[in-house]
């Protein structure tokens, strides 16, 4: 993307943060304000692909309180051993 006659690599610029962009382009003779504007225009065109996570503006949901607790599972005695439908233990002679 062209800005003030300089051809910026838009795909690269959109993949880095503004801080990195400013650091990498400070030698090009533009003012910080101009570089920031260039970055803003690049992001508008290419999207922000810098991968920096943004803070959520939604309020955090509080943990659930009250409500019905799930019942504990209990296992009936004798079911751990392999039994046939009649409930008799196998293998017993």
């Amino acid at each position: 993307m062209k800005y003030n006659g300089i051809g910026f690599n838009g795909q690269w610029a959109s993949s880095v943060t503004e801080d990195v962009f400013l650091k990498e382009t400070k030698h090009l003779g533009l003012s910080t304000a101009e570089l920031k504007e260039a970055y803003k225009l690049i992001i508008a065109k290419y999207g922000d692909n810098s991968g920096v996570s943004k803070k959520s503006s939604q309020p955090k949901r509080s943990p659930r309180s009250g409500g019905r607790a799930k019942p504990n599972k209990t296992v009936a005695p004798g079911l751990q051993q392999g039994t046939d439908a009649g409930g008799e233990e196998k293998g017993r002679e």
Binding site: I6, N9, W12, L28
Partner: protein, 322 residues
């Protein structure tokens, strides 16, 4: 008198087609392996688009076409048929002579050097004639291709002030097959001007001065026979080439690893471009590591308004500024 005859199986129907087209005077040779399928020559406009695209392909592409300069003189060097005459005066045509021509072109030293790089090559040849027709041949698949010929370009000598023959760079074209030339001849009509059919310039990239860490200065020039007078493409494409997307950089074995270029800026003082590489991968390279810098393909350059140019790369070395 013979009672058995195969005469009905000899030859072919010979009905005349009104307004059929004949070869005109050759005006421009175009050499290269382009193969135009039926869709490419379905209309004159489609063919013209396809041919121009072939001219703009990169060197190394098997479909690239190289136009030669306008022909100013034609000499027919076709070998006479070899004949044999029996003792009683009956003449046989023993062997057909193969078509061959010498075309005189008027070019400068730089262009002559480029033409001579085709010497002793056997290449397919398309011929644009005075009627606007592009001649070649139809191959077995029905595609329109060039007719193979051996090329030799004789450089222009000093003019002798007496003969116009010393004004030409002579391009000798010897067609390999009379059958291909005559029996499989095919053409497409166009409305090209000769000026539409021009080749590309070799734009050699070079490094200018010393780098400052990941910031290098790269120029582009067309080398001229006149020493010290190379053509600086900054004078033609300063703004157009200040676009990051028209440049590429690679490192590593066989230059297989891309190195991001973050920006390209004009350097109007030195008439070159400031090429900035992404600092993290650049600084990670070993000192002296080779970086190949080049322009994108001629087709992509043309889309960026950098026309009639093919870039050739420069190999630079990564160097940290002490």
């Amino acid at each position: 008198m013979s009672i058995i005859s195969l005469c009905g199986n000899v030859g072919a129907n010979t009905g005349p087609i009104k307004c059929d087209i004949r070869r005109g005077v050759p005006k421009v040779l175009m050499l290269g392996g382009a193969s135009f399928v039926a869709n490419d020559y379905a209309t004159s406009a489609a063919f013209q688009t396809a041919l121009l695209a072939s001219i703009n392909l990169a060197t190394g592409d098997s479909g690239k076409i190289y136009p030669f300069p306008e022909i100013q003189n034609v000499t027919n060097n076709t070998e006479a048929n070899t004949t044999g005459t029996t003792g009683l005066g009956f003449q046989f045509i023993l062997r057909e002579g193969k078509p061959a021509y010498t075309f005189g072109v008027i070019v400068g030293s730089n262009q002559e050097k480029q033409l001579r790089k085709f010497n002793n090559s056997i290449v397919p040849v398309f011929t644009f004639d005075s009627a606007g027709n592009v001649w070649g041949k139809r191959d077995v698949n029905g595609n329109f291709v060039g007719t193979e010929a051996l090329i030799f370009v004789a450089g222009k000598p000093f003019s002798d002030g007496n003969s116009v023959d010393t004004e030409y760079t002579n391009v000798t074209v010897s067609f390999l097959s009379a059958s291909d030339f005559f029996d499989y001849a095919a053409f497409v009509n166009t409305d090209f001007n000769i000026g539409d059919l021009e080749g590309l310039y070799d734009a050699q990239l070079y490094e200018f001065g010393a780098n400052v860490d990941n910031v290098h200065k790269i120029g582009a020039k067309v080398i001229n026979s006149q020493l010290g007078k190379d053509t600086n493409l900054f004078d033609y494409f300063a703004d157009e080439l200040a676009v990051a997307g028209l440049w590429e950089a690679h490192t590593g074995a066989d230059f297989g690893t891309s190195l991001a270029i973050t920006s390209i800026a004009k350097d109007t003082v030195n008439k070159v471009w400031t090429v900035t590489f992404s600092s993290v991968p650049y600084l990670a390279l070993a000192d002296g590591a080779k970086i190949r810098v080049r322009l994108v393909s001629p087709t992509s350059l043309k889309a960026g308004s950098v026309v009639q140019v093919e870039g050739f790369p420069v190999i630079i070395a990564k160097a940290n500024t002490p």
